[in-house]
């Protein structure tokens, strides 16, 4: 067992968090090694609670946490190491992208000149240089997501905690951000990414932590957990302008179990190979010129995965 003071691991020891009588997370024991780790669970499963605990925005009711040897109780040390992109979509009133980052960097102790340089570099990295002097209140959802990512990594942290970082980004933006996370992980950093979109985590993560009802139901290498997931068809809901065109092309794929048109612009797809489905789906979109509004796993698919894992893994065993 790694000690809490381990300088390269994020360690949770018997951590529980209760909100009054409501359970947040229960008896979590984790050791996260550097690399890209996916934190997966449905809404309300405790992903954000776990991330808040890791970053000291919440305090554990029981147990101990250490992030690379530093307790989250010591923000003055912790946030030299850690950057956190939360799910909150609010910003200080009146901030522009640039002023928002400058303020954060000034609090890190950078001089005005250094803060400016770092702010511009972070804005460039997330593709917001042109919007630097615009008010964040006028940003699109995707731009707000990008500025939060810039805020989280502008001070070059060793640990980057990202809560649903791809929400609101268009496919191109998602691809860019995934590349960014992968690059950062390759530099030896911890990247913890939460998502309720399994295939995204599957594509980018070295390891995965699955949480449900505040308990860790699966934790480990991506292959092991992936093995569990592929045995059940994953449902994907696509909203686009020509669902019948997509449906006809999708039926040609071997792993498709079902493709059902819902309402006028919805298509519910059940597939046994999500990774291949998304690869092929991108091709279909390019070939046909279909305009896609959203692609998201249907709730049922997430539930199915959890039903399966909980059924098989009573007692909180690891996959």
């Amino acid at each position: 067992m790694t000690s809490l003071q381990s300088s390269d691991r994020i360690v949770f020891r018997d951590v529980s968090k209760f909100y009054g009588e409501v359970l947040g997370v229960n008896k979590v024991n984790l050791e996260v090694a550097p690399g890209l780790t996916g934190l997966v669970g449905p809404n309300g499963s405790g992903k954000s609670t776990l991330m808040h605990l890791m970053t000291g925005l919440l305090r554990p009711s029981r147990g101990e946490i250490s992030v690379c040897g530093v307790s989250p109780d010591r923000p003055e040390q912790l946030f030299h190491l850690v950057g956190y992109c939360t799910q909150y979509d609010n910003f200080p009133n009146g901030s522009t992208g640039l002023s928002f980052l400058r303020f954060a960097l000034a609090l890190h102790g950078y001089s005005k000149h250094e803060a400016d340089e770092r702010a511009w570099a972070a804005l460039a990295r997330v593709g917001l240089s042109d919007a630097a002097n615009r008010r964040i209140a006028g940003y699109s959802k995707g731009m707000r997501q990008r500025i939060k990512l810039a805020h989280a990594h502008c001070h070059d942290p060793r640990v980057l905690v990202l809560d649903e970082p791809l929400n609101g980004l268009d496919p191109m933006g998602r691809a860019e951000m995934i590349d960014l996370f992968t690059d950062l992980a390759k530099e030896g950093r911890h990247i913890i990414v939460s998502s309720h979109i399994l295939h995204e985590v599957d594509v980018i993560s070295d390891g995965v932590i699955m949480i449900h009802g505040g308990a860790i139901v699966a934790e480990g290498g991506i292959r092991e957990v992936r093995g569990e997931i592929t045995s059940h068809p994953i449902q994907v809901l696509i909203r686009c302008d020509q669902p019948h065109v997509v449906a006809s092309r999708i039926f040609e794929l071997e792993h498709i179990v079902e493709a059902r048109i819902i309402e006028r612009d919805g298509l519910l797809v059940r597939t046994r190979d999500a990774a291949d489905f998304f690869t092929q789906f991108n091709r279909i979109v390019i070939d046909t010129g279909v305009v896609v509004e959203t692609v998201a796993p249907a709730d049922e698919s997430v539930h199915a995965v959890y039903d399966y894992l909980i059924g098989e893994g009573q007692g909180g065993g690891s996959a």
């Binding site: 925005l57 923000p75 609010n90 009133n93 000034a106 102790g109």
Partner: protein, 272 residues
């Protein structure tokens, strides 16, 4: 290279500047400006509609300003302006759901509290000192040359300086209290109004209860005593240095408690 003490200083100054900008130039500061505009508007109306017989007699201006200061400026404008500015230091960001950005900085929570408090004190002091000076001028101005002479004489300036000392000390004391209230209460204006009731009742309380109010110490610096009415229980005025120590110690104690509360502060916006 930034030394740890330099870093703390720089962080506190950055936070203070940020709070000054928020307190003076945000949309929310409009309520503070409306509040401080009230005594100015009233004194302006008084100046415009003052009968000629009263204009000729400047001797009442000193007592009039003392009454305006005690019953309106100090107990209402200074009190609520501090409440509006300091309650927002934390509660405002919690309601805005943006407090987490500050909590995600490598800041000792004590530095966070001190930086915000400093910003609040500087903003409140700036606004309220200017308001008090303008009110002072507007009280004396309608009395013509005699009023100006009274206002600018050595005694007049000394008297104004005493009122400004009260305002500055009030910003420190009420500011610390309301910042703490903003950390503790979801709706800090309710305890603020309760405390205003307590401060208003102070003249009618026995001495052992008077000492539990700020206004009891603040009025020790007042250059002109005012008539508090037939039911007021008169007490020996507190020496200025005792008042200064009491206000400083209580402000420091409140800021210390606020920093202890801030150390345990969690981000649970849905619960707030």
């Amino acid at each position: 290279m930034t030394t740890p003490s330099n870093l703390l200083q720089r962080q506190a100054i950055t936070l203070a500047r940020h709070e000054i900008r928020r307190s003076l130039f945000s949309r929310r500061s409009l309520s503070v400006y409306l509040l401080v505009a009230m005594p100015l508007a009233l004194m302006l109306l008084r100046a415009l509609f003052m009968p000629g017989s009263m204009r000729a007699d400047a001797t009442h201006a000193t007592t009039e300003f003392a009454e305006v200061f005690h019953f309106f400026l100090l107990r209402f404008v200074v009190f609520f302006a501090n409440a509006l500015i300091f309650v927002r230091l934390f509660r405002g960001e919690i309601l805005e759901k943006s407090l987490h950005y500050t909590l995600l900085a490598p800041l000792h929570r004590t530095v966070l509290v001190l930086g915000k408090y400093l910003g609040g004190v500087l903003s409140a002091t700036l606004i309220l000192v200017i308001t008090t000076m303008l009110t002072y001028v507007l009280v004396y101005l309608p009395h013509g040359a005699a009023g100006r002479q009274l206002m600018l004489s050595g005694a007049g300036i000394a008297s104004l300086a005493s009122y400004l000392v009260i305002v500055v000390l009030a910003c420190f004391a009420y500011g610390a209290l309301f910042m703490l209230a903003g950390l503790f209460f979801k709706n800090p204006m309710v305890p603020a109004i309760v405390f205003l009731g307590w401060e208003t009742l102070t003249p009618f309380l026995p001495t052992f209860l008077k000492v539990l109010s700020f206004v009891h110490y603040l009025v020790s610096f007042a250059p002109v005593p005012v008539n508090l009415g037939a039911f007021a229980l008169l007490a020996q005025p507190v020496p200025w240095w005792v008042a200064l120590v009491a206000l400083s110690v209580s402000s420091a104690a409140l800021v210390f408690v606020a920093s202890r509360v801030a150390r345990r502060l969690e981000v649970t916006y849905s619960a707030d």
